[in-house]
Symmetry: C2
Subunit: 441 residues, 2 copies
């Protein structure tokens, strides 16, 4: 046995060092504030559940990636691989203790034993928000508004929410007599970003012939202006319907609530090529892209579904929801240079100048905290250069210097660390006011 065990994490797992964790928590805080401001409530569910609950009838690609094992009681258990399945189980179990419509958010870790060669992590955060128990257009609008407001709150530049409605597309295909080919056509359209219009056209042509394929290709082009695009699609689909009126209402809600428009970073585009897979969504669907980084893909997406929890209850629970890709957003903020860049929350450090003055320094730090600042005491008398180096590593903007000399002069010295500038103050309160002024705290 070796003297020491090599400290390392599993492949696909990672530690969050302070700067990364502060960044992640800042992102979470911003999103949480938006969710809460829209009436969404938080819930939490266990990380471990019965495998049967998480995997249902199972057999899919996901199953192989799930961390599944027998616990001490020989129960077949698994770690959650998303937040949707646990939410479905949660609603089925608790709907009578709750109320409908129920709007919740959940930000938590999930685990998938993915192939790490594609840069995927096996442990990552998901962020879901849904409104369950109503089929109304207002709920759809709410989800769209939360997406627009949440991404705007992150301050990472302009973005576009691309929205579509499954029903509208279905009606259009019916006018072509192509209803039976809908799944194949949707699958083809879903590849538009990857393989391009021409190849998509070939795939559709193989299904419904070249004339109809051309019409589909014409249909799926997004126009710049929401109302005129909607009018065009509505007419191609055979006239007004609940699908098109719903899309119109969502656009109006975004306009009325000023989530889009003059001075706003977000745009709402009607994009008939958005399909979001085949099975789950039944109404509106949406995806959100950063204009400056389209290549990272959708940073948020979602839609309306008919049945959240049919695996666990006979009660019908229609809903609408979306997920936000925290890892993608963190990476995007990094790439765009829009990170917070903090290494700590400390506004000011009280340096250790004189041996045995610890309690006095703690008193000063407490006074600084009392004026609304974060303050720490450097916990041992070391060389000033070492204490400054520590402060620099934590990106602390200010240091209080109080030794025998300052004490004799009846002052405290405040050092602005980046500028290497010292200023004397007659009291801690005056120094604190200066820091607050400079840091905007």
């Amino acid at each position: 046995m070796p003297d020491i065990i090599e400290p390392r994490v599993l492949k696909g797992f990672r530690d969050y060092l302070p700067e990364a964790e502060i960044e992640r928590q800042a992102l979470i805080d911003k999103l949480e504030r938006v969710f809460r401001s829209f009436g969404f409530v938080p819930i939490d569910t266990p990380v471990l559940e019965y495998a049967e609950i998480l995997l249902g009838k199972g057999g899919g690609e996901t199953d192989k990636q799930v961390y599944r094992f027998k616990d001490q009681g020989e129960r077949d258990v698994a770690m959650r691989f998303d937040l949707t399945v646990p939410f479905a189980r949660f609603m089925a179990e608790h709907v009578d203790e709750l109320y409908l419509p129920f709007r919740r958010y959940h930000m938590a870790k999930v685990w998938r034993g993915e192939n790490t060669q594609r840069g995927r992590y096996r442990e990552f955060m998901q962020c879901d928000f849904d409104i369950v128990g109503t089929d109304s257009a207002e709920a759809d609008a709410d989800i769209v508004l939360v997406m627009l407001n949440a991404i705007a709150a992150l301050g990472i530049g302009p973005f576009t929410l691309r929205m579509n409605h499954r029903g509208l597309f279905n009606r259009f295909l019916a006018t072509l007599g192509a209803s039976e080919k809908t799944p194949a056509i949707l699958r083809a359209v879903d590849k538009l970003d990857k393989i391009g219009k021409e190849e998509v056209g070939k795939l559709i042509e193989a299904e419904i012939g070249s004339d109809a394929a051309l019409k589909v290709l014409d249909y799926i082009v997004a126009g710049k202006d929401f109302p005129s695009t909607l009018a065009r699609l509505e007419s191609l689909a055979g006239g007004p319907g609940t699908d098109s009126s719903r899309l119109r209402e969502i656009h109006e809600a975004a306009t009325e609530s000023k989530a889009i428009g003059e001075g706003k970073p977000g745009k709402l585009v009607l994009d008939p090529s958005i399909t979001r897979g085949l099975d789950y969504y039944t109404g509106v669907v949406f995806e959100l892209y950063l204009d400056d980084l389209p290549e990272v893909g959708a940073v948020s997406g979602g839609g309306r579904y008919d049945e959240l929890a049919s695996l666990y209850t006979k009660r019908k629970l229609p809903g609408v929801g979306a997920a936000i890709g925290l890892d993608r957003l963190l990476a995007a903020a990094e790439t765009l240079g829009k990170t917070e860049g903090r290494a700590s929350y400390t506004d000011v450090i009280v340096l250790s100048v004189e041996e045995g003055w610890g309690p006095r320094y703690q008193g000063i730090a407490a006074a600084l905290r009392g004026s609304g600042l974060s303050a720490e005491v450097f916990p041992e008398k070391k060389k000033m250069a070492q204490q400054f180096a520590y402060a620099e590593k934590k990106k602390i903007p200010f240091a209080v210097i109080l030794g025998g000399d300052e004490s004799a002069r009846g002052v405290v010295t405040l050092r602005e660390l980046s500028a290497r500038e010292n200023r004397d103050f007659g009291s801690i309160e005056e120094a604190a006011a200066f820091i607050r002024d400079r840091t905007g705290r």
Copy 2:
């Protein structure tokens, strides 16, 4: 195969419904604010690690409780059962990327397959904070101050932090010529709360005889006044030493920083009977109890240790830290009637009065959010009674009522739901000001 799968969680696991989750997040927020204000930074580590890393040489009682299994790659992995071991591994791995002294907090879930009959949960939150890389008294003081400030911030009544120093007790035992019996005596003293003074006396007597045992029993009595108790223990231990001067300095720091004293809920008591187990701690040790609920046991505890990470590195990493028992504090707040009692964050709900006015209601909700309130739109036109019942379930204090009638009169009606009182306002902004005034937002 049945039609539906019964929705249920594993024994020892639980869902957090909104009220419980809001309570937990409020607790976490309050603690986090204190940690941050003292310069502590957050980190995160993976839930899954190599079993070898988490269990070390292993073989203890803990091992049997650990969720351990083979992953898809046949790696022997385990879910973390505390936050201390991952932190030790983290420091050993990253110390060169970080800085010392390093002060971190970590609040996260851990898993232990405990016997649930004792009311234990198998999934629970832990909250740890430590300062590593220094042996200084100021760091000890910092941990004590954080404990005092953190529990005070929760506003759940008076509490007492009981502190002791291992070295002082060791010196005292040496004066009795009982150094070799230290472990047995500590074990006996540790049982004081459980079996009482008399039984502890018998255990000690069996080790070192009745005269010496009486002296030990005399020694371990806590005095009410910190300085005089310290003076008595110091003298019994053979005079001043680094241990007693350190205890004195911590008490001074708490006094200087006004963490104790006039009007403060926390007291700092020197309690020579506090031992906190045998192996890990080597200096100061502390435990914190709620005065109104001593029976729940320590809600926080910790101490100084010589070596955080000797399993993973030859580098010496002394430190000091403590843990806060979130579940105990949540239960205590509940028992003491000091919970927040919120069911949502919503300040005001915009009711759905007229069909098709959704976008207009969204505009109103957006204006309310713009004035700093949390606002949601009830997403479908249902009977007023149903909408009121929903608001009541979420404990929403205010509702905006705007229908054709109000619109014709050029007003919005604001209903204070608990009082069932309606008031008309000329604008949303005036209504918002009224809500802010009433709710203190």
